[in-house]
């Protein structure tokens, strides 16, 4: 099966094929191929050998990403089935010029400094959210007009909740 993986904003395209013994996989990238051996150790732990190179991973699906923890850090990989990707490529086209400010973490809105119709400069303070005992001021990502304020002071928000729309 062909995959396109996005890691750190870079696309990698390759074919993956499971070999007969169940643990072996063949990976093809252009003219190159690698034989890899993958074993589940228990829970979310996997051991992978590529030739003699040994890799130890904790693998978890988090939202749209596959999160892989290894000795040198955490990689967040998004996988795309290229046959479907073409169809969905322009979903965001209609949102050009529109900025949605979303909560980066769960917390409580402490202060809202703008209302619908206000003009804001890029970088201007828009609202203050308290999370884990720290107040964080969220700033306008671009200059524009506030289209809608979705929250009020005192309100609790979840991660990714829409807070303010600027256009």
């Amino acid at each position: 099966m062909r995959y396109v993986a996005i890691l750190d904003g870079v696309e990698h395209e390759f074919d993956v094929e499971q070999l007969n013994d169940g643990n072996g996989w063949r990976l093809r990238v252009g003219d190159h191929h690698f034989d890899i051996d993958v074993r589940r150790v228990g829970g979310a732990s996997f051991s992978m050998l590529i030739g003699t190179r040994s890799f130890d991973f904790e693998v978890q699906r988090i939202g749209d990403e596959i999160v892989i923890a290894s000795r040198t850090g955490i990689a967040r990989v998004a996988l795309i089935d290229p046959r479907r990707a073409a169809a969905g490529a322009s979903i965001h086209a209609g949102q050009r010029g529109r900025a949605e400010m979303r909560a980066m973490m769960p917390g409580r809105v402490v202060n809202v400094m703008v209302k619908a119709g206000d003009a804001v400069e890029a970088g201007a303070g828009v609202l203050v959210v308290e999370a884990m005992k720290m107040e964080n001021e969220l700033k306008a990502p671009k200059a524009g007009t506030v289209i809608e304020v979705k929250v009020a002071a005192g309100q609790t928000v979840e991660k990714n909740d829409l807070l303010v729309i600027i256009e």
């Binding site: 890691l7 696309e11 000795r71 998004a78 990707a85 303070g125 884990m132 005992k133």
Partner: protein
């Protein structure tokens, strides 16, 4: 000695105190909010009592509920940990009034050091050097402007009741005063219930060095040397080490003696920390005293061999210190990395959530203190620190190498994000390795870089994702709705060959 102690805290410090109790053969009572029913401190304690809804003000900060929990479970003493009630004289008095023992300093010492302005005045009169600033608390913006004009920018605006990096802002220009004041007053009110503030001269690029002291009820006060705490972001410590690579033996001795003098000046009993700012010329100034056990106490334990929490409990039970100043020495070097549930790449924003799997490093020189485990939920209501990695080495170079190794073994996977990569970056930074840093280092130097995809481990991780997806019948492939990506770096076959090396 006590038969049972209530631990009025949560997270890693509650677990740490429970361990000290178990070492002493003392049973424990945990308290927990509704968000912490399955937290590690509840599971490790012998007894556990629910004290209210998730917000700390409605549970962990309810004096009556905590004392009632102690009575209901027959606890004779209360250890406050750090944060919460640890520097609250009112709580200490309420504990005593209930016929229980508060494991910490006398309420008068908490009060004397808790008010940052009064303590500055007291320390100055005891001959302890202090940073120039407002001689008294200020009440309005105009007063801040006035003192700023007098001592000059930059200044630090600080909550009088503050501590632990909360309720403080640095101000470089007059037009920043208003918003800084609003933030400080807001945080001070919500965190400490006291919105008073004052101003200090902001020293450029100083070192933050603190001295651990401990005193018993028999009049013995000793110091346990220094901790270097200059690796900070937003005035929160991130990495500490002991000994400080910046401190000379002479300076160490002088600071230790001043710290003991400062503690004696307030009739201090139990464990405490005198925080100093040390400027580039190695002048040192009293900053504040923390009248409790510190987050970073393990590195002092590693180099001195003393169990500070056990010693706190013994002192509260009326026992004399189990050592004298002459018994103490620093052996080797220790480093602590605070693991926060936060996203360094995203402005250090808190990033709590579920921990699906957590692998804790072990082996030579490695100590981990944590309040979470696989399956735990890091709640949004409390401090984002989830673990402390404390490493000992025969010398600083060995400690750094072991810290690197332990960070590599530390795997935390789940909804949350952590700052482990920041620590990896730091342990490989030439200036940190050389011991050449001050308290601006992290903010000036740390720019989360885009990872190079030439790292074979990350290429392999991408393959792992594909195999994992394939194993699950390819149902993990997502379609559309993706940010624009650069073209494949793998088309350069040379990079792939990295994996064969």
């Amino acid at each position: 000695m006590f038969k049972r102690i209530l631990v009025a805290n949560r997270g890693e410090i509650a677990v740490r105190v429970i361990r000290a109790c178990r070492d002493l053969g003392i049973e424990t009572t945990a308290v927990f909010s509704d968000a912490d029913r399955t937290a590690l401190h509840v599971r490790e304690a012998d007894h556990a009592v629910a004290v209210g809804p998730p917000p700390a003000a409605e549970s962990y900060l309810q004096i009556e509920k905590i004392i009632a929990a102690a009575r209901a479970t027959g606890a004779e003493a209360i250890h406050p940990g750090y944060g919460f009630f640890s520097e609250n004289a009112g709580f200490a008095r309420a504990v005593a009034a209930a016929g229980l023992v508060f494991i910490g300093p006398p309420p008068e010492a908490i009060e004397a050091m808790g008010d940052k302005v009064a303590s500055r005045q007291l320390m100055a009169s005891a001959g302890v050097p202090v940073v120039p600033g407002s001689p008294d608390v200020l009440t309005d913006e105009a007063a801040v402007r006035a003192i700023a004009r007098e001592i000059g920018f930059p200044i630090m605006l600080k909550a009088s009741a503050g501590g632990g990096g909360k309720g403080m802002r640095e101000i470089h220009r007059e037009d920043e005063i208003a918003s800084a004041l609003r933030a400080v007053v807001g945080e001070a009110k919500s965190s400490f219930g006291d919105s008073r503030f004052y101003v200090e001269k902001f020293l450029r690029q100083p070192h933050h060095v603190e001295v651990q002291i401990i005193a018993d009820t028999r009049g013995h006060t000793v110091h346990l040397f220094e901790r270097e705490c200059s690796i900070q972001r937003r005035h929160q410590k991130v990495v500490e080490e002991s000994p400080s690579p910046f401190i000379t033996p002479m300076l160490r001795k002088a600071m230790g003696e001043v710290a003991v003098r400062a503690a004696k000046a307030v009739g201090y009993v139990n464990a405490g920390t005198i925080e100093f700012l040390v400027d580039a010329d190695r002048n040192f100034y009293f900053l504040e005293m923390n009248t409790r056990i510190q987050v970073e106490h393990p590195i002092t334990e590693l180099v001195t061999g003393v169990d500070l929490v056990k010693e706190q409990i013994r002192i509260a039970a009326g026992e004399p210190l189990s050592f004298t100043q002459r018994d103490l020495s620093q052996r080797g070097a220790a480093i602590e990395c605070r693991i926060y549930a936060e996203d360094p790449v995203n402005g250090f924003a808190p990033a709590p959530g579920r921990i699906d799997s957590m692998r804790i490093p072990t082996g030579p020189g490695v100590r981990v203190d944590t309040g979470v485990q696989s399956g735990a939920e890091v709640p949004i209501y409390y401090d984002p620190m989830i673990a402390k990695l404390a490493i000992w080495g025969r010398d600083r170079a060995e400690a750094i190498a072991r810290t690197r190794r332990a960070l590599d073994e530390f795997a935390i996977v789940g909804e949350l994000r952590t700052n482990i990569e920041l620590h990896r970056w730091l342990m490989n930074h030439p200036r940190f390795i050389a011991g050449d840093y001050d308290n601006q280092f992290l903010e000036n130097e740390y720019h989360p870089a885009a990872r190079t995809d030439a790292d074979p481990m990350r290429l392999a991780a991408t393959l792992m994702a594909a195999v994992a997806a394939h194993r699950n019948h390819a149902d993990t492939a997502r379609d559309g709705d993706r940010p624009p990506a650069r073209a494949s770096a793998w088309k350069t076959a040379a990079r792939l060959e990295l994996m064969r090396r």
